[in-house]
């Protein structure tokens, strides 16, 4: 199950949803807004997506993860818009019969999401400036 949402993510609910009698392991990854990045203080992140393609890519991620590991449940939720400090921007819950697969699938899903899904974050810094994060472009992209 994949979802883009503008609402706060209820990680506990996702954990409960991924659990079930066929699963011996449930792994929940939550990505949250962190305050410190290379000495700079963040006050908030703002996320934007190419919605149709992001949903398609998230669905592809689930399909591929289900091919690689015997997943019982796979839930990926990404929040868009403003995400304050310590709140979740993304949550991935996977459940499997045995724990090695759950850890491996969870890691693979977040790593691949961060590489291939058309979603972008905008840092809002404590000094009042903001910039879009485009890794590999050497300049800041001030907004």
């Amino acid at each position: 199950m994949i979802e883009l949402t503008n609402q706060p993510i209820d990680s506990s609910a996702l954990l409960a949803k991924a659990s079930g009698p066929e699963a011996g392991a449930v792994v929940l990854f939550v990505g949250t807004t962190r305050e410190l990045t290379e000495g700079r203080r963040t006050v908030m992140l703002n996320y934007e997506a190419y919605d149709e393609m992001a949903e398609a890519k998230l669905a592809e991620l689930e399909d591929e993860a289900r091919r690689r590991w015997p997943l019982v449940e796979c839930i990926i939720v990404h929040r868009l818009g403003r995400v304050p400090l310590a709140e979740a921007s993304v949550a991935i819950a996977v459940s499997t019969p045995h724990r090695a697969d759950a850890f491996a699938a969870g890691q693979w899903l977040i790593d691949t999401l961060k590489r291939d899904v058309p979603i972008w974050k905008q840092e809002h810094w404590a000094d009042g400036t903001s910039e879009w994060v485009h890794p590999g472009t050497n300049q800041a992209n001030p907004s």
Partner: protein, 81 residues
């Protein structure tokens, strides 16, 4: 022909809009669209070399041919998650 290009994040702000119309010849490829877009919006030069392209919501190679019905999007380096 004019083809619309969807822009996001810093590219959207640099170009001043979430969609720009780009002039290319019939039978143009993604590479041609990129060249035309750069000519129209030179300040995208910081982003274009690092960006990917999508046609109809799939990543597309430079040699992918486009037409007026194609949904073309510039995908700057992503930073989700």
């Amino acid at each position: 022909m004019m083809v619309p290009v969807r822009l996001f994040a810093a590219a959207r702000e640099i170009a001043g809009g979430s969609e720009v119309a780009v002039e290319v010849h019939d039978g143009a490829t993604v590479a041609d669209v990129q060249r035309s877009l750069l000519a129209m919006v030179p300040k995208l030069e910081q982003i274009l070399p690092h960006a990917r392209w999508a046609v109809d919501a799939e990543f597309a190679a430079a040699e992918t041919v486009v037409n007026e019905e194609s949904e073309i999007a510039l995908i700057p380096p992503v930073s989700g998650g």
